[in-house]
Symmetry: C2
DNA sequence: CGGTTAACGGGACTACAGACCCGTTAACAA
DNA sequence: TTGTTAACGGGTCTGTAGTCCCGTTAACCG
């Protein structure tokens, strides 16, 4: 993120290196959509990126590490959240965002691929966990405000509510052939809010939400 | 399943073939746990199974098709469901079953792997969808009885309720590093039941639940 | 039983992903 | 600028996953 001073024995993230990284990540994304996760190979990605394959093998080494780096990049681009006055509307907005993202052929394939990568490699898994941690936390304030408004009980774990909205959409994407439509998104939001109102997501004691 | 008559040009699923299939599926499962999905290769599986690698390549051809066959096998072994007198207890039983399965290192790795396979290959995806369709339907009667008892509204889609129980557990498994404990299972069951009581899973009109 | 042939298995062959070597380019400091 | 060296890239080599050929085994039939 920041710019480092370069002393002897120091990395050089400047111009060329950054350009190579961007080209490779973009090429990897393209290749991912075209040939799918399992058929990805670094030689092909290097060719697409117009970069020496030695470079790709030296910097990333494996497909899954490259995917982990893609996740870092994805996490860096933060998305804006809406803030209407009601928890249901906010969670509906979140659900629709997730639904539109996963339903889009390109983005959907990308998300499936990073999940597959996380299953295959622990570093990719770590990167994926960080990514979702960030994304989920971005929506937590909506839930906190709902608590302050008295819509849902004191002590409710905000992140659990936000996850409860996402979960059914991902589950549907991965384990069924049904379309990810707006109705599914709305149901996910309604279900999470109903459960939150019922006090299901209250923390048991004074323990942090993220152990 | 059934036994066929063998006319010229007919398959021979008898003795040896079945034995080979069983040995290969078992070896694939072992290999999966030991080296992980991404490092699976058919030559190694053939060696583990004590079977000619030509056989494995001829019958399955790719890792993902072998995984699809594993899913057929998994779907064939049906599990018993509990039937207490209350929806919450039934859904808690379901949630605990899913939680214990996914939390078990062996089974957890297996389930992650078949999901990864489904992401990589459309045939494996189809097999996975069938598998979950069966598993989810097995628990639907609990929800139907709850409707008859008047616990939840008429017109509730039973499968959607059962999926709502599983979803948060799978989401937690795939996108976080948090442990899949009993508390998570209970929360999943409580959330689904609360949403069902609120009428979130009623079908919009007289349309079938599975389009 | 014996004949037919689906299915298995050993071993040779091939293509190519990934490793390695070493010369070239261009960040960064002075 | 100029020097230093991190990082890039072309070319070559190698291990091995996956294919192919062909002889062997054992299901299934009559």
């Amino acid at each position: 993120m920041g710019s480092e001073r370069a002393e002897p024995g120091t990395i050089r993230p400047g111009g060329r290196t950054a350009r190579v990284r961007a080209a490779v990540l973009r090429a990897a994304e393209d290749a991912l959509i075209e040939v799918g996760f399992s058929r990805l190979d670094l030689t092909d990605i290097a060719r697409r990126a117009g970069v020496g394959k030695t470079t790709v093998y030296r910097r990333w080494g494996t497909v899954t590490r490259l995917m982990a780096d893609m996740l870092l990049e994805m996490a860096a681009q933060s998305l804006p959240r809406t803030e209407t006055g009601s928890l249901l509307s906010d969670m509906q907005a979140h659900a629709r965002l997730v639904q539109r993202t996963l339903a889009d052929p390109r983005q959907g394939a990308l998300f499936k691929a990073v999940i597959a990568a996380a299953i295959c490699d622990s570093r990719a898994a770590e990167a994926l966990h960080r990514f979702y941690d960030i994304r989920i936390r971005e929506w937590a304030p909506c839930v906190e405000q709902a608590i302050e408004r008295g819509e849902i009980p004191e002590g409710t774990d905000p992140c659990e509510v936000v996850r409860a909205v996402s979960a059914p959409l991902y589950y549907r994407l991965l384990t069924t052939a049904y379309p990810l439509d707006e109705a599914a998104a709305d149901r996910a939001a309604e279900a999470a809010v109903a459960a939150a109102r019922a006090g299901v997501f209250r923390r048991p004691l004074a323990s942090p939400s993220q152990p």
